[in-house]
């Protein structure tokens, strides 16, 4: 019984670390008062999700998904179990670039908020919002 638990623990621990990283990002978004910290938390969450997806595609004893050109003249050794699964890499490439685009727009909004309310702490902005209404 103890053996089974230990083996399960060791084989799944990398997933738990990725989940812990995602939860750190989520905590940063919800709990922190400063808007820049919220944006950093959002970015941490994004990269942790990308890490999780990429880790799904890893294979044991397999090489990177670039076919060696000198090997290709043989044309017989391309088998799918020699190469790492390239499909998560493709989707995560799109995800990273979208992440940097949203970061740019978020930072522009932060500058505009600062210009309007002259502070970045949320507990000072919310009373001002209620007064403006």
């Amino acid at each position: 019984m103890a053996d089974g638990v230990l083996e399960v623990l060791i084989s799944r621990i990398n997933y738990w670390v990725y989940i812990a990283l995602m939860m750190i990002g989520l905590y940063g978004i919800i709990i922190k008062n400063n808007i820049m910290k919220k944006i950093i938390g959002l970015s941490i969450l994004q990269t942790a999700v990308i890490l999780f997806f990429v880790s799904i595609g890893a294979k044991r004893d397999a090489t990177i998904p670039i076919i060696d050109h000198t090997n290709a003249s043989a044309h017989t050794e391309i088998s799918a179990t020699n190469f790492i699964n390239p499909l998560p890499h493709v989707l995560m490439l799109t995800a990273i670039v979208v992440a940097v685009a949203t970061l740019g727009v978020a930072l522009s909004m932060v500058i505009k908020i600062y210009r309007e309310y002259n502070t970045l702490e949320e507990d000072e902005i919310l009373p001002q919002l209620r007064e403006d209404k």
Partner: protein, 270 residues
Amino acid sequence: MLAIFLGGLLIYCSFEFPLWGDPHAPASTHVSPYYIENTLKDTSVPNIVTAVLADYRGYDTLFETVVIFTAGIACIFLLRTYKTVEPDIRLYRHIPTGITLRIEKGGKFPEGSRHFERLDTAWVPYDLIVKTTCRLVIPFIQIFALYVIAHGHYSPGGGFQGGVIMGASLVLFAIAFNLRSAIRRMGERLIMLLAALGVCIYAGIGTLCMLLDKNYLDYSAFANILAFDPASARSHGILMVEIGVGIVVMAVMVILYYVLASAGKHDEGL
């Protein structure tokens, strides 16, 4: 509280996950063996990730390019202000001696002279080392960026990475020298035009394939007009599309820096 609950939920789900490195995991068994085995035959591009990104899933990449372009436009809309109010005081620095002049309104401005350099109100010291180093290094960075775009077929790289590196070299130029001289070299209108041009290149190649009597973004249509076989026609199609993507990404990085560094007013910077 919510985070702990969600974490617990995900940990419970993690017992269903496949083991690390399993070749029979469901993510690796349905479509990706087809991609791995047939990329070299269909497209003659050794880098599987680039081939899947720009050829098998090219429609996805087209809309991702549109998303980046939209983000650049959104930044411009949010922050850019066009009121040109001349400040009353301009600061100039006399380069040979290091004295800073302060010229009030109504005086004569030494424009375009070799000995005077215009300063912003953020007081930046005159550092020769940074300027000379950047002047030496920036052309090599740009050549490396072009190499990364062109060798996306054979090594990790491709359109995005090369475009970001190229944009980063222009941002480096804007940081080392002041923002005004960067805008003088690479004007604002030119950058916005380049961004639109990149998206049009990508969509234009797709339309060109459709006009040549095949499906949208099916690059083997090029085999008809020039004397290629379909595999290398697809390889050249991927190259052209990557160039388009690289141009858009470079332009958007530069736009983001110009807008953020001056809060929309384009006259001062870091």
